[in-house]
């Protein structure tokens, strides 16, 4: 065991002046910071704001659906709201959520590195994200966009739609570049900046997940960028690529769009799975079960995930042969996810399970992700997808995956690394209550939507058949419970900034390297590159000293 780790672990809570939070003052020292931790925190704030905004849109949508004939807002306003709800949530919250905010903060720390490989690129990536976010909101200034986040032409590129689409396409292009830069930064860092003694199979699984995510970001996002560019020019110059009016093919656009947007689902879920792998092991106090299978399943998901985009197009006019191939490949991608779930369960088996907030969120993740993944089978199967496509069944399915699974994993990770980020312990009681509320609210919101979908309610409907009023009202009530749960979580975290007790370097008894740094870490993370721990999930040397001092490596206490 290196003395560096030992020293870091044994050190008392560091003097406040040394932490990254107080190293440099004033707005410039934050806004232009090259420190991955500060950039991570800025991402966290921006992503939190996006979640809030997208959430408010969602609540208005749900309220409008209280009555079958709608009426709270006009149909046009409803259409603009669900478009921005989708765009903001997907491009500004779910996709960058875990990697750009938590990943940015944690990745170098888990490698014992001082920063990401390219700190300037990291800062550029953040500001591109901000510019993209502003561009999305700028659509509101020019009358909003009502195209749905999928922006299918010809609808989206009609002249009558106004100029909002040009802002939205530019935003996609810019946000896409932000995502590419994050991805390549992560890959280069994981490749080249591992500490001595840390081989590929000694990486924490969160890093494997981020690595696989980075591959998808680098390979698939450029196609979104060029598609946005083509759409932009098509809208202005009528190139004849996507608009049938000018000899273009709208289904071609759908191919391009889903070549990015399906892998994007894995950009969302893979980092979530990474968080779950960390948390489930730490709070079961047991090494992760089947490390290599979990690591390799991340890569498998990334690779196979590229070849299934056509399952979004089974009824779009895609050829039968292509549909069958895509359906078959889609079923394959289910397997690595199943492998992960069973390995997580096996990790808990005979462990010593601690029901702290991150773990409770992860336990709810299991149920939610299981439903989200399993309902994907109905949509990958051709026969059942035909009636279910573009209904609330699909809406419920992807909300289970993106909101349910990704957001609970995000909250798990946020609570798990909160002490490291802020140096404060959150209130455990509030955390547990919030996780319970989120779990209940989530299911009340989205389970009825499955039923509405099977009964034949298409998505993006401002009004609906009166027979489905029950489904929709229950769902609306659930949305508010879910919102309450999220507010409670936010309240608990913010309160801890003032009243939380100072966090020790290693409050959870985790073995990965980020816990060897003080909480919060100093500007440069580590004096010297620390040696790799015996294993990312080897808890044998760790001993609980006290709540104030947290856990320390056994040999230090001598």
């Amino acid at each position: 065991m290196s003395t560096a780790v030992a020293a870091a672990a044994a050190a008392p809570a560091p003097a406040v002046a040394e932490s990254y939070l107080s190293h440099g003052r004033g707005p410039r020292s934050w806004l232009l910071s090259l420190d991955h931790k500060r950039i991570g925190v800025m991402y966290l704030l921006a992503i939190g704001a996006s979640l809030l905004l997208g959430g408010v849109f969602a609540l208005v949508l749900r309220l409008n659906l209280w009555r079958p004939e709608g009426g709270l807002v006009s149909n046009d306003a409803f259409n603009k709201l669900f478009t921005l709800h989708g765009a903001v949530m997907i491009f500004l919250f779910v996709i960058p959520g875990i990697p750009a905010a938590l990943g940015n903060f944690v990745l170098p720390l888990q490698l014992g590195a001082k920063d990401l490989a390219f700190p300037r690129v990291n800062l550029i990536s953040f500001w591109l994200y901000v510019v993209g976010a502003i561009l999305f909101l700028a659509t509101l200034v020019v009358g909003g966009i009502d195209t749905g986040w999928t922006i299918y032409p010809p609808y989206s590129l009609e002249s009558a739609r106004g100029l909002g689409i040009l802002f939205a396409l530019t935003a996609l292009f810019v946000v896409g570049f932000s995502s590419i830069l994050t991805g390549l930064n992560f890959i280069a860092t994981i490749h080249r900046m591992r500490p001595p003694g840390m081989g590929w199979f000694d990486l924490p699984l969160f890093l494997w997940a981020l690595y696989a995510t980075g591959l998808i970001q680098v390979i698939s996002t450029p196609v979104l960028g060029i598609t946005a560019a083509m759409g932009f020019l098509e809208r202005i110059f009528h190139l004849g690529l996507f608009m049938p009016e000018y000899g273009g093919d709208p289904v071609l656009f759908q191919h391009f769009f889903w070549f990015y947007s399906h892998p994007a689902v894995y950009i969302m879920i893979l980092p979530a799975m990474g968080v779950v792998s960390e948390v489930v092991s730490v709070f079961s106090r047991k090494p992760i079960f089947g490390y290599r299978f979990i690591a390799m399943s991340s890569i498998a998901i990334a690779v196979i995930g590229f070849l299934v985009w056509g399952h979004h197009m089974f009824v779009s006019g895609q050829s039968a042969a292509a549909s069958i191939v895509f359906s078959g490949l889609t079923f394959f991608v289910a397997i690595p996810s199943a492998i992960k779930v069973f390995n997580w369960l096996a990790t808990m088996y005979r462990g010593a399970i601690v029901l702290a907030t991150p773990m409770v969120y992860v336990l709810t993740f299991f149920a939610i992700f299981a439903v989200g993944g399993l309902t994907g089978l109905f949509l990958g199967a051709l026969a059942t997808d035909v009636p279910l496509h573009d209904t609330y069944f699909v809406v419920a399915h992807f909300h289970f995956v993106m909101v349910g699974a990704v957001m609970t994993a995000f909250l798990a990770g946020l609570h798990y690394w909160w002490p490291k980020i802020t140096g404060r312990m959150y209130d455990e009681r509030l955390g547990l209550w919030s996780s319970a509320l989120v779990f209940v609210g989530f299911h009340v919101t989205f389970v009825p939507q499955f039923l509405a979908g099977v009964a034949g309610m298409p998505r993006r409907y401002a009004t609906y058949a009166p027979a489905l009023v029950g489904h929709n009202r229950v769902s609306t009530v659930g949305a508010f419970v879910l919102a309450a749960g999220l507010c409670l979580a936010l309240f608990g975290l913010l309160r801890s900034l003032r009243s939380g007790r100072p966090a020790p370097p290693n409050p959870w008894g985790a073995a990965s390297l980020e816990w060897a740094a003080p909480s919060p870490p100093p500007w440069d993370n580590f004096e010297r590159t620390p040696h790799a721990p015996p294993g990312p999930y080897d808890y044998s040397g760790l001993r609980h000293v006290s709540d104030e001092a947290g856990w320390v490596r056994g040999e230090v206490s001598r």
Binding site: L184, V223, G247, W523
Partner: protein
């Protein structure tokens, strides 16, 4: 606040261009290279979208592509191909000069690369302006003038102007235009290298930026290697 962390204030022997978060120049160089390669991978997919659009319209309208290629002068395309190959050579040469610490050679190689890139753009400009003056725009604005139609070979002149000629030229201008933007960016990057080379930044111990820009430039060359036959010869 890039390279003045308190932890390193005492370490006087750190090389001037070693960023604070790297252990040594070797790791820094290898990391830079990997970053550039990953960027190139995303560039491949960026152009890949356009190549796909090309493939789709070519596969479904082969006669359109055959007709349209008569509008392009293969001699100009071939000349530009040779110009870019030459610039790739000088870019590779600049890396060699930097590695060997030959400052003068480096500067000359970089300047030659810039000059050739400019030649490429001038040729491209001539091609574009000739077409645009003759009404051969993209998409809806593609209405070839009688004069340019008269210059087509007999076989093509006999045919009616295809309805989707504008789509072909949309793809042509998109692909060559995006490539041209990359050439412009390359010129800027090489200019930046020249400025740094003059200050004597590069040598055997530190040539990462030269290597990185050269890698980028070779990719730009590679893309053109595909664009040339696909547009000018088919």
């Amino acid at each position: 606040m890039s390279a003045h962390g308190p932890a390193h204030a005492a370490q006087g022997e750190r090389p001037p261009f070693l960023a604070h978060h790297f252990e040594d120049m070797g790791v820094q160089l290898e990391t830079t290279k990997l970053g550039v390669w990953l960027f190139l991978a995303s560039e491949v997919l960026f152009f890949g979208g356009l190549f796909t659009a090309y493939g789709v319209y070519r596969a479904n309208h082969p006669e359109l592509f055959h007709y349209a290629h008569f509008f392009l002068d293969w001699r100009l395309g071939a000349a530009n191909t040779l110009v870019l190959i030459g610039s790739s050579l000088s870019a590779a040469w600049s890396v060699r000069a930097a590695q060997l610490g030959r400052r003068r050679g480096l500067e000359v190689a970089l300047l030659v690369t810039i000059a050739l890139a400019c030649v490429f753009l001038v040729v491209k400009y001539l091609e574009y302006s000739h077409k645009l003056h003759a009404g051969v725009g993209w998409g809806a604005s593609c209405r070839p003038s009688a004069e340019i139609l008269a210059t087509l070979p007999d076989a093509a002149r006999a045919l009616p102007v295809p309805a989707q000629l504008g789509t072909f030229f949309a793809i042509y201008y998109l692909m060559t235009g995006l490539h041209g933007i990359h050439v412009l960016v390359g010129i800027a990057l090489f200019g930046w290298l020249v400025a740094r080379a003059r200050q004597g930044h590069f040598g055997a111990g530190y040539y990462g930026p030269v290597d990185a820009v050269a890698l980028y430039w070779h990719l730009v060359d590679m893309i053109w290697i595909f664009l040339f036959p696909l547009f000018y010869l088919m």
